[in-house]
Subunit: 133 residues, 2 copies
């Protein structure tokens, strides 16, 4: 069996890429590394992974190189945060004018904060693990 | 600024979780670690990351604990594969009855294979890097 080593591209959709770029670089502090006109914005997460915000109004069109895709409606992503940064994240997000939609303490002891990005995607900041190894 | 260390949960949507589970464990060889009735299936990717296939027919409903979410239409994900496994992946996927929708060689020299999962999500297997560091 050939191997998959990790997830390289995680994708969220939103029609307003300027708003998405402002949110992910500003409120979340990600580093934007590429912008393709009105099609997509790429944020570097680690040396081997990125987050891409795509505009489904563009990506659903036929493309010369890559397959078409593009979803509508709120997606979901969870980022790992260090446990010691949880309070700082709550302060930072509320200070940026964002509402904490939910705050959850999981049976494992992990904790999550949830906010919405400008497209309505549910963005979770997770300290600890919630899923089986 | 508090820290985000990585993406912990990457999400795709599909209404038929049995079909999604069969595809991601069978054709892609992922390891399923959780199944929540007709709501979602969790696949372990690394010690600190998972892929979750959610049924938007369930996740869009109000929930006691977590915010609602759920997209429709084809999403996109890219998995990293070792370069030396590219030919084996092509053989494995076609042997599993899947069509290779596109095969791309990028300006960086990276190479990608694209297939569709049962929900129509565009699944890319990527050997190499396509985005700026």
């Amino acid at each position: 069996m050939p191997r998959l080593t990790r997830i390289h591209e995680t994708v969220l959709y939103g029609p307003d890429l300027d708003a998405m770029a402002a949110f992910y670089t500003g409120a979340l502090g990600l580093r934007q590394v590429s912008r393709n006109a009105d099609r997509g914005v790429v944020f570097r997460i680690t040396a081997d992974s990125v987050l891409i915000a795509f505009n489904p109004g563009e990506t659903t069109k036929p493309h010369e190189v890559v397959p078409s895709h593009g979803a509508t409606g709120p997606g979901h992503i969870a980022f790992t945060i260090p446990r010691e940064d949880l309070d700082a994240w709550r302060d930072h997000l509320t200070g940026a004018g964002l509402a904490i939609e939910r705050e959850v303490t999981w049976p494992t002891g992990a904790r999550s904060l949830y906010v919405r990005d400008p497209a309505g995607n549910s963005v979770e900041l997770l300290a600890g693990e919630v899923w089986p190894a």
